[in-house]
């Protein structure tokens, strides 16, 4: 017989032991079948949603939810690269303006059938304008998780000083208030309209009846009559010195709001928390929120944008039923209320608004009224690119490099170029 080296023997024994262990552990996991749901969420939502996993796992033995938190600034890249690399999660939080893009990629699972058989989720429990953002060409792809829109933040103490006990209901009044505030020396400017935001002119255009894009969203409609009328109001604020033109004049929004640089500011729900924490305690009674002004006071509150995040299931998921159950869990009114108290994100469910009294008390009541009158931006994958372009040309308008007609004509040319692919795809169908 050949001589076996003792080391070889030891190695073989150790290896076979490891292999044995591995095979038993494999068998163990396959018999109990732990299913893992991959859930991606962004920013603060991603941090806070972890606390809800245990409740869901307790109700669904054998299911684990793996939450991956992605910073907002990297979320879009991460999702697209995951799609290209074929490694999507089962469920994901998706900003509702991103939904058209992922529908174009054919990456999202339609949810209409899930809704029909669900006793937890139905459209009646949601703000209709928000619900609509999840519906692309008639099919539903997402369930609202939390909601977001823009309202008016204003210094109620200063407005009272010039005789306004209530917030402006029309843009005309908003201009009037701004003028009076500056004339009586209470503030340096009336409104703060950050130049790196396209929201206000878009809202103004929508209130004037502009569809933003026309002909089945294949062409830009920025140089059309209705959008230009809205833009004119926007321009007034800058021409009459009612809003600061330079970004550098307001380095810090909260400081500017507190130190009377301006008294009116259009922004979203995240600033409720910021205002509460950044403004001193004695100033907390000095500010309030109100829905956006309208063109005529009988139309008040004026239209605003439908924002927020939805929950979506990817078509590549192997566990769609379980994923739906996780969405249902996160959509329960009590879970939604709890999530609000953790994050400050406004709940999507109307039951939670009622239960928490959010629709009655300030400063959230303004959001409640606003959310009943919201509309989505055009549902095309190119929208963010178009919005960036709009922002770029707005700067030219504000600094009077071009007239608004000329600038919007040039913008339409650029937008039509961006949409050329969309027209080509449509013509091929």
């Amino acid at each position: 017989m050949r001589n076996i080296h003792p080391w070889k023997l030891v190695c073989t024994l150790v290896l076979s032991f490891i292999l044995m262990q591995m095979s038993t552990s494999c068998r163990k996991s396959s018999s109990t079948k732990v299913i893992t749901l991959d859930f991606w969420a962004f920013g603060a939502e991603g941090d806070n949603v972890r606390k809800f996993v245990t409740g869901f796992e307790a109700e669904n033995p054998g299911v684990r939810v793996l939450v991956q938190n992605i910073p907002w600034t990297a979320a879009h890249e991460k999702l697209l690269t995951a799609y290209a690399g074929n490694s999507m999660p089962d469920i994901c939080q998706l900003g509702n303006t991103w939904i058209p893009e992922f529908v174009a990629l054919n990456a999202l699972e339609g949810l209409d059938r899930s809704i029909d058989s669900s006793n937890m989720i139905s459209s009646e429990s949601y703000f209709p304008g928000i619900w609509e953002t999840n519906r692309i060409e008639g099919n539903l792809y997402g369930i609202p998780w939390y909601v977001d829109t823009r309202v008016l933040f204003y210094r109620s103490d200063l407005l009272r000083k010039i005789g306004w006990d209530s917030p402006p209901e029309t843009w005309e009044q908003m201009l009037e208030i701004s003028k009076r505030l500056i004339e009586s020396g209470y503030t340096k400017y009336g409104v703060f309209l950050p130049l790196n935001e396209w929201v206000v002119p878009t809202v103004l255009g929508m209130q004037q009846g502009s569809a933003i894009l026309k002909d089945d969203a294949c062409y830009g409609a920025f140089s059309d009559e209705s959008f230009l009328r809205g833009l004119e109001i926007y321009q007034h604020f800058f021409q009459d010195g009612l809003a600061p033109k330079g970004m550098t004049e307001v380095n810090n929004v909260y400081q500017g709001f507190q130190e009377n640089t301006f008294a009116l500011y259009i922004s979203g729900p995240w600033n409720i928390g910021e205002m509460m924490s950044r403004l001193p305690a004695q100033m907390q009674d000095a500010w309030d929120t109100a829905p956006l002004p309208a063109l005529r006071s009988e139309d008040y509150p004026g239209l605003s944008l439908a924002g927020g995040s939805s929950l979506v299931i990817f078509r590549s998921s192997q566990h769609k039923d379980l994923s739906w159950r996780w969405i249902e869990y996160l959509s329960r009114p009590d879970v939604q209320s709890e999530f609000y108290s953790q994050t400050g994100d406004l709940p999507a469910r109307l039951e939670s608004w009622a239960a928490l009294g959010l629709s009655e008390k300030k400063p959230t009541a303004a959001f409640y009224h606003q959310l009943e009158s919201v509309k989505n931006t055009p549902q095309v994958p190119e929208w963010e690119q178009i919005a960036m372009k709009l922002q770029q040309y707005l700067e030219y308008v504000v600094f009077e490099k071009w007239t608004s007609e000329k600038a919007m004509e040039l913008l339409d040319q650029d937008v039509n170029k961006i949409l050329e692919k969309r027209r080509w795809l449509k013509s091929r169908d």
Binding site: L80, T81, Y83, A107, N196, M247, Q392, K421, W424
Partner: protein
């Protein structure tokens, strides 16, 4: 029979080289060729869903690029960064190299280590610290400025100051590397030259002008090529610190390429951008190599 011998001669080197060549082919040549071809298509988000949605568009991407104000903005920013940052970096690294090479200095290796430390530190960690340093109300820079009675600025939030702030950080982070190369160059200068100059009665300043700087020329050219190539590829600093803002003041070519490619998934456009950058770098290198040849024959 000759063919067989030739095969035998080439067999072993080919086999030894094969793994490296394969890696270079898969991870370098094929991607470069594919992205070059891609720069003539309109590969975008629709094509990601179905590659038949991509079209051959010829030079359209390049044409659009040249008429895109964002591209010129990024080009302007990148050139700003290169033309201010590279000379500054060379100046600082040559200065510290001269100081460290001086016989008067003690603890030379300690200083050398200290100056080299930023080079080996992860950029993201550095960026987080520098974000605090530049903070408008709690930052070190504004605090120091307030001591001498200058009111500070919002370094990263102000379009005029964001780029200088990034240049300062980049120079601080990278000069140690060039400094080491300069020290090596300085130590290669034969001491006899200095001795004979001293006999001829040359002062320190004349020594620097007539011996040190001419003798360092090849090193300087090498260092400046490397630095220019590196600085043209400005990406991580603005990506981590400012995301290209405020108002695109720190948007660099590579950051624009990344945003076009991975945020909007306009791969064709982004690939065209990459090749424009390649051409610029290629031209810059050619010019410098030409200069190098001229100086080395003198």
């Amino acid at each position: 029979m000759k063919g067989k011998r030739l095969f035998k001669v080439w067999m072993s080197p080919a086999l030894f080289l094969a793994p490296a060549l394969l890696l270079i082919a898969v991870f370098f040549f094929i991607p470069v060729v594919v992205s070059f071809l891609m720069s003539f298509t309109d590969f975008d988000i629709y094509s990601l869903a179905d590659s038949s949605n991509a079209r051959f568009v010829g030079l359209e991407n390049y044409k659009n690029l040249l008429s895109d104000p964002l591209f010129w903005k990024a080009m302007h920013n990148t050139l700003y960064f290169v033309f201010i940052g590279v000379p500054l970096s060379l100046f600082v690294s040559l200065g510290t190299a001269l100081l460290l090479n001086s016989k008067l200095i003690r603890f030379m290796s300690l200083f050398r280590l200290a100056y080299f430390l930023p080079v080996v530190t992860t950029l993201v960690a550095v960026a987080v610290v520098w974000r605090y340093i530049y903070h408008p109300s709690f930052g070190l820079v504004n605090y120091l400025l307030s001591l001498i009675g200058v009111s500070g600025v919002d370094w990263l939030g102000n379009p005029n100051w964001a780029m200088p702030a990034l240049i300062l950080m980049a120079v601080w982070k990278n000069f140690g590397y060039n400094m080491i190369i300069f020290i090596a160059g300085l130590q290669n200068i034969p001491p006899e030259l200095y001795e004979s100059a001293q006999i001829d009665g040359a002062g320190r300043w004349q020594e620097l002008l007539h011996i040190t700087i001419p003798m360092l020329m090849p090193t300087t050219i090498f260092v400046s090529i490397i630095t220019i190539i590196g600085y043209f590829q400005l990406f991580a600093e603005p990506y981590v610190m400012t995301q290209g803002g405020p108002m695109n003041a720190t948007l660099s070519i590579v950051l624009l390429m990344y945003q076009e490619g991975f945020r909007w998934w306009r791969m064709g456009y982004s690939a065209a951008l990459a090749f424009v950058l390649f051409l610029i770098l290629f031209a810059a290198t050619l010019i410098q190599l030409h200069l190098q040849k001229r100086f080395s024959t003198v």
